[in-house]
């Protein structure tokens, strides 16, 4: 059985789920970062998050803050530092809304 929440997401809004896991053509900036031309929004998020962890970009005093390196800056609106809490929103910006 699907987990309750998952089931709810699917039944409530199948389109919402589709925008999350469907493979789409990435914009050029993202293409360089991920190294692939196609990915899902979830895949991109995972990629960025693991990139932050691997390169230890979190502020050692306040882990909620990420100091962007040049590569990360290119995809996150050129900000030098972002909050972890904004991350999903910032990534979502690269994924245009699907027309109904």
């Amino acid at each position: 059985m699907l987990p309750q929440r998952m089931k709810k997401v699917v039944t409530d809004n199948p389109k919402k789920l589709a925008t999350l896991i469907d493979l789409v053509n990435l914009p050029s900036t993202f293409r360089e970062f991920v190294g692939r031309s196609q990915s899902s929004r979830l895949g991109c998020f995972q990629h960025v998050w693991s990139y932050i962890k691997e390169n230890k970009l979190q502020d050692p005093n306040n882990k909620n803050i990420v100091h962007c390196d040049a590569k990360l800056k290119s995809i996150l609106l050129g900000k030098t530092q972002v909050e972890l809490a904004e991350l999903p929103m910032l990534i979502k910006l690269h994924f245009p809304k699907v027309q109904k």
Binding site: P3, R5, M6, V9, L42, K63, A85, P88
Partner: protein, 488 residues
């Protein structure tokens, strides 16, 4: 017991057939699954020594009829495995086995049947299997096909039945023409095989046909098995229709177990009104509700969030002098705890002990759930200590319940508990995961929330989609709260 003729239970068990000792409706689900798993493993693996022994020794309860006249050495015999459905190569394989003199002693019926069964698992048509059977009797005259041989053929035909059941009937006719009149065991094998391969439609057809003859009339176990399958994937009205048809057409009446299955099903579907109607019907038919039935009804009340009603059911049970069991108490306490009457639930601990039942992990977890709902998460934590001191070890569900409760009251304790869970590799449930994330974000621990997200995926507690959706919506909610100046 019911079938005196059933001698080689083990053989049947690997075809999804249950020995009568296991056939009570209450524990049907589990043994069937475990036995089916067993069957799969025995057909998929090459019968090396270990798997062979494994196949011959299914779960304890099936070894009631010990294999007669068979010495353990036979288990190490070089059985034939068939990987291709090619009939001529199968024939040759068997022939070559008969030419080796040292194996001549083991080519008994039992062994030959297992060869046949092995072939049916790969063969494409029953016709091929019949050819092999004929071939086996020709080159090995000591083998005379017995009832199980034909049952093997029958069960193969049932895995891929024709729409009009012609191949199943062919197998039945073949059996009868060789002097083995199909009986209730035959019916049971056919119905169970049909159901386990998802052919409920055909099973209904077949059971109607077989019910016309007295010798193959299904017994209550077969009948209830089918009903249990039907309620799972058909509408209630069509099942009722089936039951009615069986009663009117063939005099097969539903019994208390049938009604319990039906009531259990409607309770799970939150249709308590129908459950009450069925309860009246079964009383009219002269059945007396037993402990299982009342437990089911209690569970029904719990699923529709009428936990308070369980007390009424319990009182009725005592009035009717039905002895409650551990499940009764656990359901009772669960219901009370869920409906905010945890104090009453705690009172029942003593009553349980009076009847000789001791609280188990389910009881404690229900109580903790109740305490957490009551806003007494620390009390629940104390209960964990008490439970462990009594030698009852908590499980994943216990920890998740506690985590859920602690997040709302004492996040620091919750984080501590999460550490324990992580250390033990326990999975997070989606409810407690969500609550934990929200609690962490609320107190500004976004990085910790990300760490929990990683753990949820790593431990395979949730799918990455579910884990991410929760994280995303939690963060979105946090941003909004920040904008309005509500959060840090």
């Amino acid at each position: 017991m019911v079938y005196p003729s059933r001698t080689n239970t083990q053989q049947f068990s690997s075809m999804g057939k249950l020995p009568p000792s296991l056939k009570t409706s209450k524990n049907l689900v589990q043994p069937v699954q475990s036995l089916l798993k067993n069957a799969q493993s025995s057909t998929q693996q090459s019968p090396s020594q270990s798997s062979h022994r494994h196949a011959r020794k299914p779960p304890k309860s099936t070894t009631k009829n010990p294999p007669q006249t068979i010495t353990p050495t036979i288990h190490r015999s070089p059985a034939i495995t068939f990987t291709s459905s090619d009939i001529s190569s199968a024939k040759n394989q068997f022939t070559s086995l008969t030419t080796i003199p040292k194996y001549s002693s083991i080519l008994n019926n039992r062994f030959c049947n297992s060869v046949l069964e092995s072939f049916t698992s790969v063969s494409l048509s029953v016709q091929d299997s019949i050819f092999l059977l004929n071939h086996m009797t020709k080159v090995n005259p000591s083998f005379t096909p017995d009832k199980s041989s034909y049952h093997i053929l029958l069960s193969q035909s049932c895995t891929k039945p024709d729409l009009d059941l012609s191949n199943v009937e062919q197998a039945l006719t073949l059996m009868a023409s060789n002097g083995f009149q199909p009986d209730k065991v035959t019916t049971d094998i056919a119905i169970r095989t049909l159901c386990s391969t998802g052919h409920e439609e055909q099973a209904v057809e077949l059971i109607k046909k077989l019910s016309q003859v007295q010798t193959t009339k299904p017994d209550t176990y077969t009948y209830n098995f089918l009903v249990k399958r039907l309620v799972k994937n058909r509408t209630l009205s069509s099942v009722s229709l089936f039951i009615d048809e069986m009663r009117k057409g063939f005099g097969l009446k539903p019994d208390l177990v049938t009604y319990t299955i039906m009531i259990d099903n409607v309770c799970n579907g939150k249709n308590l009104r129908e459950a009450m109607r069925l309860l009246d019907v079964l009383k009219e038919e002269g059945f007396k509700p037993d402990c299982y039935l009342y437990n089911t009804i209690m569970k029904g009340y719990c699923t529709v969030s009428l936990g308070g009603e369980v007390l009424r059911v319990y009182k009725k049970m005592i009035e009717e002098e039905i002895e409650p069991d551990l499940v009764t108490y656990n359901t009772l306490i669960y219901g009370l705890a869920k409906s905010g009457k945890v104090k009453e639930g705690i009172r029942f601990l003593k009553e349980m002990a009076k009847m000789g039942y001791f609280p188990d992990v389910v009881t404690y977890t229900s109580l903790m759930n109740g305490l957490c709902r009551d806003g007494n998460a620390l009390g629940a934590l104390e209960l964990l200590g008490e439970m462990e001191s009594k030698g009852c070890s908590p499980n994943e569900c216990t920890y998740n319940t506690l985590l859920h409760g602690l997040c709302k009251a004492r996040l620091d304790k919750g984080v501590e508990l999460y550490g324990v869970m992580k250390g033990n590799g326990m999975k997070l449930e989606s409810g407690s995961y969500g609550t934990f994330l929200r609690a962490l974000c609320r107190s500004g621990k976004v990085a910790e929330a990300y760490e929990v997200y990683d753990y949820a995926i790593e431990s395979k507690s949730l799918t990455d989609v579910a884990a991410y959706t929760t994280l995303e919506s939690t963060l979105k909610w946090l941003q909004k709260a920040k904008e309005q100046g509500l959060a840090v």
